[in-house]
Amino acid sequence: MTDLEARLRASLFRVAEDTTIPDLDVTAQVDSSVGAGGHTPDGSHRPDGTVPVPAPRLGRRGLISVLAVAIGVIAVTVSIAVIQRETGGSSPAGTDHPTTVSQHGEIRGLLLISPPMSAEHVSSGSIVITGTRVFTITVGDSGRFTASVPPGNYTVIGHSPEYGGNEGDCITQSGPVTVRQHRTVSVRVRCLEK
């Protein structure tokens, strides 16, 4: 290995060490894939009523696993309710819920200001999620937002005081997002300054 390769290797390991490891919400993700009754991650029911990848684990653990999944479902439901309260408004006020919270999916994202000649950075502001209904979320200084919404297609538009004084539309590069039951969609809402 040459000196350059050694420096390269050392640098990569330094970056790896420097990387912040966020918590993995395994409960929500595993729960969505191993739900009792043989539902696949996209919510469809498979003919043989099994889920091949995780099913052997469930089979061995028997009743304890079923109880654990049930507790997980309750935990996720409570978490979604808490997130809804914290994000201040993913639940539409004054409208009927055609789906229960436990049937919802999640949109998680980051509001970013993208100046053309410098590094992009997070911004506070607001997010409007438009689908069959409209959800408005207040975004704090971290730029992060989370919304629990019924399955469907949504357009996510952001507004920032740093971008046209809340008048400009900040957009997702990939266009409308599709939310599925019990799934999380990650988006980046960018305010593209020209």
Partner: protein
């Protein structure tokens, strides 16, 4: 690192918790960004859970991460073209050392080869399998990446 590929390894909460830190670190290295690294790690996990059956989940996750990072770079490239300007890909890059900013500036496939070779310790054949190309292409990408690094660091 997510080096070992254990055939038939079960995918459950313990497995995901075990591989998660390695996935985020690999994501950071492949994308040059903490945030984007987290995003593709999450995408890879969700992709794995969508599969009906995976023989080698770690290898599946690694391949997903590489593909997601290359797609992400392609989209970012389009965005930069739209903006007609350049942007720092990783704001903390220069705070690590003098090598990392050059790695971050490499094209996505070259960076992937560098990361898989010098961080994941994969052979050229294994890298070729991950990238879906020939070993000769891997050798060429690695050579170009090292040449670029040499030009930037040892002019």
């Amino acid at each position: 690192m997510i080096v070992d590929s254990l055939e038939g390894e079960g995918v459950d909460e313990n497995f995901l918790r075990a591989v998660w830190p390695g996935l985020v670190r690999l994501g950071r290295l492949l994308t040059g960004s903490q945030e984007q690294g987290e995003d593709i790690a999450q995408e890879a996990v969700l992709g794995l859970l969508r599969q009906e059956s995976v023989q080698a989940p770690r290898a599946y996750l690694r391949r997903s991460m590489v593909n997601l990072s290359i797609n992400l770079a392609r989209n970012s490239s389009r965005e930069r073209a739209y903006l007609a300007g350049t942007r720092e890909p990783d704001v903390e890059a220069s705070e690590i050392d003098e090598v990392w900013p050059v790695v971050v500036a490499l094209p996505a496939r070259q960076r992937a080869v560098v990361v898989l070779r010098y961080y994941e310790d994969l052979s050229e054949a294994d890298i070729a399998s991950v990238l879906g190309c020939r070993p000769g292409t891997v050798k060429s990408l690695a050579a170009r990446a090292l040449k670029q690094l040499r030009q930037e660091l040892d002019p």
